[in-house]
Symmetry: C2
Subunit: 249 residues, 2 copies
């Protein structure tokens, strides 16, 4: 039996999120179904770096699983190709030691959020970008507002209510907001951990700043108020991508 | 009663093509359903510039319809927004004279075909680009091969078998092939009319040339042979876009 670390991409629009739920099509469910098929019916489990919600995409989700199949690393992606649905893709697979854990060993994660701002939405991007109808949008204010978030803070203001965790202190290593296309902008969040809906609530608040419903300085004020009610709406899942997960050497 | 010319976009991946078919979700079916809803149940028909097949997209399909509703041009798109599914979009609507016909008055059409060439496919583009697995691809040969197609020719070689039309002579006003992104290439075909599968068979033949299964010069030879069997495969619908339809002044 060997342990494998697998990096997978998926299009979140066809899934009810990561976690297995009876009667729902989930990423975990489809992945385990495929893996079980490769193992000729032997029930297989996968463990992810963390869950993603409905509509949320991944370019570099990481999971681990154990297998007694003798498949070289480079051949695994093709093996998965034959058993996974078309909206999931195995990016790479590598052999790791038996103690590796996709969730507990993760040191940092990067999330990206794609925003399109303008007076017309692009039909073909409807599952992949969050469109904000606006003629005027203060991108510079958004950029400025994000800087106070870098560092170690209690992020209670940007955490979904009724989230039960011991501590809401997290560290954001880097946050940026830049133009990536015509009317298209990208938020990047690199952090040691993310609270439930944290990236999406920060983006929702940033949209209020871009629309001038809030000032750039309000982001910092809201952070320190630690009050979810002062922050903006939770931005929709469709713009969010789990971009990669970083592990130690 | 007034006649309206409407320009619509749709994502072909969720439709069984344009034409209404019992039990199938089609573009025409959804559009007429929406229009009928706007007319409080009065049965409405739309007439398109031409059909598109399953998986084929449109950025600028044109249709006409008659209506007694008193809606100004600029308000029509929003009216449609409330009754059309999310994978269709009304781009613009304008009032035309009662003799306008979306099909018979069309003077030219532009089709585009998006190709991605490389060793890995992009999961998020799977419905929108045709991916060709290749390490080497002769783009320059493809470019060269297309030039003899410009002009007025009998395009029998690039027409699906069992197509029953009086004449297979058509005029291509312009054909081009250029890079539009990393590994992404776009064919453009502007012509006065297109035979069934014509753009897709030309693209399929061009792919054979890019893969060096055929020479650039074979395109011209195949054109003049007028024999469908000598041309390449019909490229998949997912890469094809009806880009616009041109009408006289």
């Amino acid at each position: 039996m060997a342990r494998w670390k697998a990096t997978i991409a998926y299009d979140g629009s066809g899934f009810s999120g990561w976690q297995e739920q009876p009667g729902k099509r989930t990423v975990q469910g489809e992945l385990e179904k495929g893996l079980t098929k490769l193992h000729k019916g032997e029930n297989k489990k996968v463990f992810a770096s963390g869950r993603t919600d409905a509509d949320v995409h991944a370019r570099g989700q990481v999971v681990h699983f154990d297998s007694s199949l003798q498949i070289p690393s480079a051949r695994w992606p093709r093996a998965f190709d034959s058993v996974l649905p078309r909206d999931m893709q195995m990016v790479s697979v590598e052999h790791v030691n038996d103690h590796f854990h996709a969730r507990y060993d993760a040191e940092a994660k990067e999330y990206r959020y794609l925003l399109h701002v303008g007076s017309t939405r692009d039909l073909f991007q409807r599952h992949y970008v969050h469109h904000v109808f606006a003629h005027a949008f203060d991108h510079e204010a958004v950029q400025r507002s994000l800087q106070p978030l870098v560092g170690t803070h209690d992020f209670s203001a940007f955490c979904a209510n009724n989230t039960n965790v011991a501590s809401k202190v997290r560290t954001l290593n880097a946050v940026s907001y830049m133009q990536v296309g015509e009317g298209e902008w990208c938020f990047r969040f690199n952090g040691n951990g993310f609270l439930y809906n944290m990236a999406r609530i920060i983006v929702g608040t940033a949209i209020d700043i871009g629309m001038r419903r809030l000032d750039a300085e309000d982001m910092n004020r809201i952070l320190h108020a630690r009050d979810r009610r002062q922050a903006g709406m939770t931005a929709p899942g469709r713009g969010l991508y789990l971009w990669n997960v970083q592990y130690g050497p």
